[in-house]
Symmetry: D2
Subunit: 308 residues, 4 copies
């Protein structure tokens, strides 16, 4: 389907439910999709960082896109991540997700290799040249060597290379520079990946939000988005603060025993399992599973937010 | 073929010649392989960082392994990199390169994702469990979030998880800690990835060397290795210092215009082209090509080292 | 004087005008103080990063505090940075700035040395134990090895160790976690150091703002603060966006020729000089001066914002 | 006294013994100086990183330099660190340590501030212009934002700005580039700060070594240096490997409880205390003390190396 111009609203990065054997659990993925669509989200983003895209094989990735696009059947747009190291590898993913039905692709700067702003620019220009869907730039400086500078994003936006920005940098100053300077580009979509500052991002002029925590509480983010759009700042702030407290779940994992991804993605999946949305909370290897006590703490966060 | 235990000698990380269209130039790859084998190297390492593995599609990677293993036909061992973000994706590469004939696989710590020593350990244990060839650990801290600590390397070595270490960290203190403490593990192979400290690494007890510059001057590294093994320290040092000066070519690229990979890999390929080994010096996208003046400077480095 | 509890409002980090010889230009510093006080700011912060504290000798620092506290003579509070590597050295600065009349001190985590959250906590506890004025924590992760985590800030706040936080991390998610969780600590002051997100920081509940750009346009930040407090979000946003455009001046310096400090602090001082507030725009060594063309671009930013 | 040209040999970075109250223990410092001089070291380096310079007040620093220069009374050269953030502050230390009798100063690149190679160059040129003693560059990239590039070091060496390099980067490739390219500068002194690669650094052509562990076992480093100079490589390697095992003491501290400085400097001081050289093993605030069990492990390292 054709994307709205600009793309707006709540666009959760869809978690990828796995079986105990580490295969994609398509029944749970369908159930999670229904959970999100029923809550009123505006689009879906599969194969992002919160989807464990870095942990999914090419076969898994294809299954994910086909399952979700097949299930939503054009009811709402599906964006797909094409996360890989450099242009030739990313282009293979662009072809694969497009064939599997994705409506747009979301690409990061190159990684693993030592890179340079000129090479990042070249990367996005080549992707746009060869992709048959719109290309979103994914600013994810904790995963790649270089942050996308506002100047680079704005140049690519003005030249029509990218259709939007998904900013997961957490750097609101830089985010705002893009917002203030892209006013004259009405179709350009600026999305925040931060779970914690949706109200302020929208107040600054952001078009939408891509919250990992939106898997767990999509109704919350939809209410938050609508309160913001309705200009009801106090209700928005109260909803946002409830979600901020819920977000504390990402730190349940013991940092002496596991990394940030194991903790945060483990918590999201544990929450989806506790809420009955997915069949199994397992995360992909080599992430370390949460302990029973840590899962119990996830349950307390859910209860505290009125979700259990 | 079965790897020598430990693997020793000069093991160049083989560059991947490309056509102007960005496909693998198998004729040039065969020619480069001959150039290396004729010079007397002890094994070949394909799909490493110097091979632009991060820029090669899965199809390119398969072509590379098949071309090289087919051409050397068991004359000497071929190690293959399996560079990807996490365990499930790396395992796909393990299967692919093994099917294509590789004698061992070389894997880094996970990247893109936020990781943790416990997850790195789990990653290597899973790889070893499922691989049918020996697994080498590749310490490459400029490309991945975490350096492999000597303690982790030694634990994995003692448990038979890894067969060797390819250390490209440039951290000789840490390298030496592995060497001093792996004496009791006679089959364990410790290889340095540094072009500039081969004589001292071998004097400390390293088993072999994996020099990117060895593509350009394999005879030089073979002479250096043999002089070290023969105990002729003065000849070794003179050869090493000649190679240090030659290595200056990696900085010909203008840092205002390109990244370190564009410059270093561009210089290696320009040198191979100038020496008549490969048909075309192009590097993969989105790397920036060297200018004519920069290529000319590569030529001067070659002339200065007696190679042109 | 006793600080308001909590400290609120616009608290510019006062630039340090220098003579061509690199000494503190006390006449210009007095003039700059008047420029700020007249604009209606609520307090002054001397010896912060924007004050070039890292470049000022101990004698310079003493002169700065004495000049400003002497000149404002208790009309409004003066906070002073005590930026140094570790506890014993910071304590010397605490004694010096307190003797010179500062009403509160602002300290970063330790730097130069490899540090640890437990050591950062110990550092602030020791400072609070020995200081006779309130202690603010200064979160400045581009200058020190470790960011202050929300948990650490909240622990120190609850225990009465720190009186407030000056957050220059640019990480609004973490900032919000502090805000949401410090509601129950009514005297605790949360200040943002970001020039670009003052409206949203205040909407989230921040108590005040410490904008380097506030040297150049204090009236703008005072208007912005008052519009936010009055609930006039649209006027606030328009003012903030004008200031965002003005902030572009920090990038006038050529990155091939100078670092970020030379460019940003050079631009602030050039702007103060062009506006007639200070006598000389020189920055401290070894910062690189802006070129005439770069200064001209600063003038254009001022003109664009209606300040020249 | 005039420094030898080039400065060569074993030059330990002298630990700073403290009293339980955190003051400089001058009696222990004298005793430690005797311990080092008696062992046959060639010069002393006070106020380096291993001296806890980052933790010493200006008064402490003066006491250290006066105590050591007064005690050695010209028997051997004393170099002094002038570790601070930027040029004006470093120049104050240059004046102070020179007045207190230091024969040369050792300066890092600027830190705390965002910096640039052009600013680092300017920094060293200004220091050399104003210092009355020789200036050594201290490459310490774990403490400052930017590593000193070989090109910058060589430019400063050729222009007579710096008299030598103390390389604590651990990057032997870069170290070797300096060595190979500074052959034509016979008075320029290249010193390694690595405890673990002294034999190979000297084999490459280094002039001397500045080992923190040399506080604990100066005789070992003197034997190692002399074996290298005598060309007795096997004895050198055996001595070096004994010292490598002893160096394991730097990791006795629990990383969940303290940082690397607390552990390494705590271990060196515990060892000096166990060997009877200093009266009290305390380290400066906010470093975390080693536990009794950790100190016991230091004792085992000493026993294993034949030092207890």
């Amino acid at each position: 389907m054709t994307l709205p111009t600009p793309l707006t609203g709540v666009i959760p990065p869809v978690c990828t439910p796995l079986t105990p054997e580490g295969e994609v659990d398509t029944a749970s993925l369908t159930s999670l999709t229904d959970h999100l669509v029923t809550a009123g989200v505006d689009a879906l983003f599969v194969l992002g960082s919160s989807s464990e895209a870095a942990y999914l094989t090419d076969a898994h990735r294809r299954t994910v896109v086909e399952t979700v696009t097949g299930h939503v059947a054009g009811q709402l747009p599906v964006l797909a991540g094409v996360i890989d190291m450099t242009t030739p590898r990313v282009l293979d993913h662009v072809r694969a997700v497009t064939a599997a039905g994705a409506d747009a692709v979301v690409a990061t700067a190159p990684f693993y290799t030592r890179t340079h702003p000129a090479e990042i620019e070249r990367h996005f220009r080549l992707l746009a040249e060869r992709a048959t869907t719109p290309v979103f730039a994914y600013d994810q400086p904790t995963s790649v060597p270089l942050k996308l500078s506002p100047d680079l994003v704005l140049t690519l936006a003005r030249d029509g290379v990218i259709t939007g920005l998904k900013d997961s940098s957490g750097d609101e100053g830089s985010f705002r520079e893009v917002l203030v300077n892209s006013r004259a580009l009405p179709g350009f979509s600026v999305l925040t990946g931060s779970e914690l500052t949706v109200d302020s991002a929208l107040a600054m002029g952001a078009d939408g939000v891509v919250p990992g925590l939106g898997n767990v509480d999509p109704e919350g983010y939809v209410r938050l988005y609508r309160a913001c759009r309705a200009g009801d700042r106090e209700r928005a702030r109260a909803e946002q603060e409830r979600l901020c407290r819920l977000f504390g779940m990402v730190r349940v994992g013991d940092p002496a025993r596991m990394g940030g991804s194991s903790s945060a993605l483990g918590a999201f999946k544990a929450a989806l399992h506790l809420r009955g949305v997915i069949a199994c909370p397992v995360t992909a290897e080599p992430q370390v599973p949460l302990s029973a006590a840590e899962v119990e703490r996830v349950g307390k966060f859910l209860a505290g937010a009125g979700l259990l």
